[in-house]
């Protein structure tokens, strides 16, 4: 049984069909990217999988558990955490506090309302571990609003990771980053724990080819191609629809 199984989901807004009969199976530990030109429906797809939008048809299951019409919080509790394309952070909290809130979400103490939060050292340790993983240790006690953009993107991923998910959905983790920031992000993503399944929407080919072993190409809400990076790169339809636009994907991969 696959870990995440998306079967035949569709979504349309009015007359506009955004996602049309989409299927996806992810195995545990898989690194999978969904790519496609702007407006291909990638973010809508993510919003459906993570519970923010209900699909019109189809089912979504995590290890056989149906999460199709669950709320975002229930989906996260079921083991699927996501990050956002636009930074969605706690600006006035520190990195430590942010990560601890994320860790606390899956712990029993979250509804404890009479003991000081400081006492729960376990949470703090786990938060610290995540910060180390995401290379945010030097800014651990800094307010989020003072971080650089690249660090915020790292935190964005870290927050999702701190939920201890089985499946991690990253929505354009490298959106808006500089070259150096991106290289660092790719390195961080490749060192994620091997048992976490990764599904990623991304525009940037450095990130996609650097991190993922499976790729699905989406255009106008339909799957155009899917397979290994090599297969996808050779696919004539993909070249026409998408890769043809960027100069030379092979050249960029070498960076990663």
């Amino acid at each position: 049984m696959s870990q995440l199984s998306v079967k035949n989901i569709s979504k349309s807004f009015g007359a506009l069909s955004v996602i049309d009969k989409f299927d996806l199976e992810l195995n545990m530990g898989e690194r999978h990217a969904v790519i496609g030109p702007n407006g291909a429906g990638k973010t809508t797809l993510f919003n459906m999988i993570s519970g923010w939008i209900a699909p019109d048809t189809g089912t979504i299951e995590i290890e056989g558990l149906d999460i199709t019409n669950k709320t975002p919080q229930a989906v996260t509790q079921a083991g699927l955490a996501r990050s956002f394309q636009k930074n969605t952070l706690f600006d006035l909290l520190t990195v430590a506090e942010s990560l601890r809130l994320a860790v606390q979400a899956s712990s029993k103490v979250r509804f404890n309302f009479l003991q000081p939060a400081r006492r729960f050292g376990g949470l703090q340790q786990r938060a610290h571990e995540i910060a180390r993983q995401m290379e945010l240790e030097p800014v651990f006690h800094q307010e989020v609003s003072t971080l650089s953009y690249g660090q915020k993107r790292q935190l964005e991923v870290g927050m999702a990771l701190a939920c201890s998910p089985k499946i991690l959905l990253l929505d354009e983790p490298a959106a808006g980053t500089s070259h150096a920031e991106r290289a660092r992000l790719v390195r961080l993503l490749t060192t994620l724990p091997k048992d976490v399944t990764l599904l990623l929407v991304e525009h940037n080919m450095d990130v996609v080819f650097g991190v993922c072993s499976q790729i699905t190409v989406l255009n106008y809400g339909r799957i155009v191609a899917s397979g290994t990076p090599e297969q996808v790169r050779r696919d004539p339809e993909v070249r026409a629809a998408y890769l043809g636009e960027s100069a030379s994907p092979e050249g960029e991969v070498a960076d990663a």
Binding site: T88, L92, L93, T94, Q115
Partner: protein, 348 residues
Amino acid sequence: MEHSQEDSGQGKNGSNVSNHDPMQPRAAREHKTFLYIASAGLLFLIAIPFFVGEYYVSLASEILIFAILTSGMNLLLGYTGLVSLGHAAFMGVGAYATAVGSSLLGYPVWFVMLASIFVSLLIAYGIGLLSVRTKAVQFLLITLAFGQMFHAIAEKTRYTGGDDGMTNIPRIDLSFLGLDVDHDRVFYFFVLICFVIALVILRLVVDSPFGRVLVGIRENEKRMLALGYSTFPYKALAFGISGMLAGLAGSLWVQHSFFVNPHIMTWQMSGEALLMVIIGGSKAFFGPLLGAAFYVLAKDFLSDITEAYLMFFGLLFVLVVAFFNGGIAGFISRVFNKFKSPSGKDGQ
């Protein structure tokens, strides 16, 4: 810090921040500062009745009562980011429950007080369950609607004197301690004890994992949902606790003034409480206390000059919202921080 992420050399063991201390330095430092301020403030509050006249002692009681109300409101406003325009209703519930219980039904006041706190908690929690589903402006409107409903009930109920309200409400009986609470100084200390209990509870709540969740909701509710929190029960409980404190304030208020009428539940009253919180500083724990003190004293001063004191508060309120988001408390801490370290950032 801006450039440090460019070189990726500082890896796993190059950190100097957190090897020594599992507790966050910022939280620990803040907690220490908090204890200093709290004990200094408490000493000050204990000292007041020994230095000022009867009239000002009574004003001080009023300040503390309002501070209980506004500190409770701040759990919603400052910590959770929800603006309620119906909080006077819960103060009214506490006030009427106390008045009815002691004056009409003849139960002892201490029992009635506990009961009214409990009743306000229940009612506020119930209304919280209904209200917190809505967002921002809708929340403001729905709390306004509920507040007005309670006001309408109080106005229409003959049993509690309708528009005129009720008078001759007794204060708590402390004669077993040999104290006479009709004496304003004695009553002040009783209020002070209630105030301290209320704020200790509030501090525990704010400091707990639950309190952190509330702050998370204020900062970014969408992210909280994505992290797997069902934010709804947290907000409802925060609303309940906040309403409970308002109820306590109401219960003390009737004892303080010996009467109650529906005016205590109007939305102008909620509005004035909101003024106190914002002017005092909604981001600081003691901001609402400062706001209540400022409001009561300034009102006392201004109402000698003109009945139109609302004008000044309205203007001040606008200025605070527009330019000094931290209110009085924010201002003080900014000055203090500048004093301490000229280069330091302001610690809101």
